[in-house]
Subunit: 242 residues, 2 copies
DNA sequence: CGCGGGGTTGAACATTCTCAAGAACTGTGG
DNA sequence: CCACAGTTCTTGAGAATGTTCAACCCCGCG
């Protein structure tokens, strides 16, 4: 939140696979770091490398060796998993400031998920060894990391519970409600943060069902669908007691 | 793993809500602590309290304020969540050495799940403040915690993916396979680690469906059901391509 | 011996998926 | 600015998968 000295739209070209001495780029926009002193921050900046990916490129795959933490400096990353029988499930999107690779950093050194650039994306990398050094040296970073993990775990468990106990209709309604909450738009209108295909995958259903349920919501007068993935919510309460 | 000086079956009466000076009881059996020096360990032991619960008692509820980490010293804890529409979902069981309460310790200070003693259970408590003090002082504990979180997150995301993409039959088969793996029994026979009712809740289905699917597996010659929740797996490969 | 919880079974029903076809949208290059 | 290609999205109909509810059983335990 604070310390956003680097500009507003996170657009930085950190170079490609080079050390990037001297400027804070990605580091300063990562929540887990931005409580640090400038001095410590520079220390971290020293060991960071950056790399960029074209839209659609795979950043890492399940099963691959993992040795770095990836921090999104700009762009968007799609994280997904494959189930035992090969079906894809969207886990989450990473936006600038978010990071990934953690799992493999602390337990199995192997990725369990896939990361794909959803658009042209730049990431900063910090190696496992460097990161662990900092964690030992500045314990407060660990606390931030733990907090982040907590949130993600909570998020994931909530999702599991929903998928196992609620029907699609309800899950979709809850998703829409959360979109409003997070985008906090005032006439209750917002843009779906992903394609309906991805949404289906995230919620645990098919695109066809999404289509149908949204149409039902529209018929019932709960929402209005507009072009460009925009949705206006007319009756949030109605929606939530679906 | 190492440092198991306290005996084998984890049975200790730590007292009830009293400080428990002088012996290591729960502390030494917690993976996140047992890499520490004796000296540090005692420091932690100093601030630990213990508490016991009767079978069925609720240890904490969703929505309650949280201020402690709970470490199971003996017994078993059932962690479950309620979905938005009030349906229960079993998240996991905690066995001696496992801990809970973390979520609330690092992010929202409010529990999101319910913890219930599955049998007579004793837990050791360490307050949020004390824990954070130790984490700042001995950063290596954080690394262990992060590792634990990693694993749990991986576990939870895997579960989400399964529930959203695999059908019940497959989920059940995978569950059985994991039982074998973890209990590593040599004639492929093991005991279900929970009631079928709980299993249903965990896997995201109903007891009726569990019953029927197990019967199908039996008819197909993949397994044999025996009294006492024991199951013998006759054809693991067959089971896994269900 | 009777009680109660877990477990099983059947039949009807609800929900969602699948497959297939067509429509709408997006971005691209002329 | 338009036309085209490749997606993504929508809609329909039939089929699969699971749920619900109700009855019943079984077993362990007081």
């Amino acid at each position: 939140m604070a310390n956003h000295k680097c500009g507003h739209n996170h657009g930085h070209d950190c170079g490609h696979g080079e050390r990037n001495h001297g400027h804070k780029s990605c580091v300063s926009l990562v929540p887990i770091f931005n409580h640090l002193e400038d001095e410590q921050m520079e220390e971290i900046t020293e060991v960071i490398r950056s790399k960029s990916f074209k839209k659609g490129e795979i950043i890492y795959r399940a099963g691959e060796q993992s040795d770095s933490l990836y921090i999104v400096s700009n762009g968007r990353i799609r994280i997904y998993r494959l189930s035992e029988s090969g079906k894809e499930q969207l886990v989450r999107f990473l936006n600038p400031g978010d990071f990934t690779g953690e799992l493999a950093l602390f337990s199995e050194a192997v990725h369990e998920a896939y990361a794909q650039a959803a658009e042209k994306t730049e990431v900063c990398l910090i190696t496992r060894a460097d990161l662990q050094k900092f964690l030992m040296k500045y314990p407060s970073i660990s606390l931030k990391l733990l907090e982040e993990f907590s949130n993600r775990l909570e998020q994931s468990e909530k999702q599991t519970t929903r998928v196992s106990t609620e029907k699609v209709e309800t899950r979709l309604a809850l998703f829409l409600a959360e979109c409003i909450e997070s985008q906090g738009a005032r006439p209750l209108e917002f843009t779906l943060p992903m394609s309906k295909r991805d949404l289906a995958s995230y919620i645990g259903t098919t695109p066809e069902t999404i289509s149908r349920k949204l149409a039902e919501f529209e018929d019932a007068g709960y929402i209005r669908q507009k072009p460009q993935r925009r949705i206006e919510v007319l009756d949030l309460d109605g929606l939530l007691l679906v």
